[in-house]
């Protein structure tokens, strides 16, 4: 065996490039970028379907966010570990198998430990499989980057997705049913005088409009996102 071929062993490939720290500027950017400049929902407009479907109440939105964080972090790490082993021709199939197994695991755990939530989310947990963000990050990032970076990228994108989800759910639950996290927050005397819940907020179109308003607000603050024309 030639000596040049033996590489320095490094744990999970972290710090192979020893000049770069674990939380270097570049790595931090992986986490912060998807929150604003490159948000999967408001900028890339991915994963909209689930943003419409499960944002009627805050609780399912939070559970969905947690599940997506888990699935994205794990799938990014797994694909990144295997990135030099996966046959190129069947890589999309491998992605699908990895994502759907992770989703199946989440589903099983929810059914055992958080039965009510799993009933509420029912098919939407399964639909994480079809969430374009997960697949997109695997193809665009994990396949070409190291484990630690892929992990950060997964977490960052999942949080970027989750923040919007929770924000939309917050307004829809508050204005639509006067509750937050299932508990009444609009005081009774308001209902007695003039206030009425806006039932329209509970219907899917209002999720789309809420997302639209968020995009509008984000773009008026973040000049980078405004197209030149």
């Amino acid at each position: 065996m030639k000596k040049e071929n033996i590489k320095k062993p490094s744990f999970l490939f972290i710090g192979r490039n020893s000049a770069e720290g674990i939380f270097s500027k570049k790595n931090k950017k992986l986490l912060s970028d998807p929150l604003d400049d490159n948000n999967p929902i408001t900028v890339q407009v991915l994963g909209i379907c689930s943003a419409l479907a499960i944002t009627v109440q805050l609780k399912p939105a939070v559970v969905m966010t947690a599940s997506v964080i888990f699935v994205m972090a794990c799938s990014n790490v797994i694909i990144s570990i295997l990135r030099n082993l996966i046959p190129n021709r069947i890589r999309i199939i491998v992605f699908l198998v990895v994502i759907s197994s992770l989703v199946a695991l989440v589903d099983q755990f929810l059914k055992a430990y958080a039965y009510d939530v799993s009933k509420e989310l029912s098919i939407f947990i399964g639909l994480i499989v079809t969430n374009c963000i997960v697949m997109g990050r695997l193809e665009a990032f994990a396949l070409g980057n190291g484990v630690w970076k892929s992990f950060l990228d997964g977490i960052g994108n999942a949080i970027g997705y989750g923040v919007i989800l929770i924000l939309v759910a917050f307004f829809r639950e508050l204005l639509g049913s006067g509750n937050l996290w299932g508990m009444q927050v609009v005081p009774d005397f308001l209902y007695e005088s003039w206030y009425v819940n806006n039932g329209l907020m509970l219907l899917s179109p209002m999720a789309l409009i809420t997302v639209g308003v968020i995009i509008w607000i984000q773009r008026s603050f973040n000049k980078k996102l405004i197209e030149k024309g």
């Binding site: 082993l85 996966i86 046959p87 190129n88 021709r89 069947i90 199939i93 491998v94 198998v97 990895v98 197994s101 199946a104 695991l105 099983q108 755990f109 059914k111 055992a112 430990y113 039965y115 509970l202 219907l203």
Partner: protein, 243 residues
């Protein structure tokens, strides 16, 4: 090894499938007891809710043992099959697909403050998929004490409203037999001119707007399932009149 060769591709897929299948099978097997426990407790919760006992899922089993005094598996002729435990062995969806004479139906008897209640399991079809639930009858086997409904995939905001308290509440004190003693069930009716459901003798409850087919499903399910219990009822009544 050449990563583009067919052999490598097949090898990779093979290893991947075996690995992932064993992980999934292992998790599913380990978690199954807890999942079954959840499903079982939820069933107990639903049964208890028809007799006005609302407990959390953790307390369901204790309350169930306390209030449910009898669990009967009834044959088509009304006799009791002692060999079958109706709670754990009977799956109504499967029973209804069996031959007529092989079907068994569960009957739960609750006793609260020395009042007897008969709880009957319901199952039918809504607009999109199965709907099911429980209905409890007072000791006269005629007056409805309470109902609980659930569904697999009815439209949220329309058909799915059958699980809501106000809809279930309207079944209370309705009668399932008419004055001649014939089973009529309870009809979920559009525009029954009685939106608050004050008339308890009309065998009707007000329907939910926009969910006619789900409502019809509820009507049919109540009539058809209770119909299966008539032979048993006749036997009980004979015993009563002989005394």
């Amino acid at each position: 090894m050449n990563r583009d060769s067919n052999f490598y591709t097949f090898l990779f897929v093979g290893i991947m499938i075996v690995g992932i299948a064993s992980i999934l099978a292992f998790t599913s097997q380990t978690l199954k007891p807890m999942q079954d426990e959840n499903v079982k407790n939820e069933k107990m919760q639903n049964i208890l809710s028809t007799v006005g006992i609302n407990v959390s899922r953790d307390e369901a089993e204790v309350s169930y043992k306390r209030f449910i005094t009898q669990e009967l598996a009834l044959k088509m002729d009304g006799s009791v099959n002692e060999k079958i435990n109706p709670f754990s062995d009977l799956n109504l969806a499967k029973e209804l697909k069996k031959d007529y004479e092989d079907q068994h139906f569960p009957l739960y008897v609750a006793e609260i403050d020395s009042e007897k209640y008969y709880i009957i399991e319901l199952r039918g079809t809504g607009l999109w998929d199965a709907i099911w639930g429980y209905i409890s009858l007072k000791s006269d086997f005629n007056t409805v004490n309470g109902v609980s409904f659930d569904h697999k995939g009815e439209t949220a905001g329309l058909g799915a409203e059958i699980t809501k308290e106000w809809f279930k509440e309207s079944f209370k004190d309705e009668k399932i037999f008419n004055n001649e003693g014939r089973l009529v069930g309870i009809t979920v009716l559009k525009g029954n001119n009685d939106p608050n459901n004050n008339d308890k003798g009309d065998h009707e409850v007000d329907a939910i707007s926009g969910s006619t087919i789900t409502g019809d499903g509820v009507t049919d399910m109540i009539y058809e399932r209770i119909n299966n219990y008539l032979p048993y009822l006749t036997i009980i009544n004979e015993k009563v009149s002989m005394r």
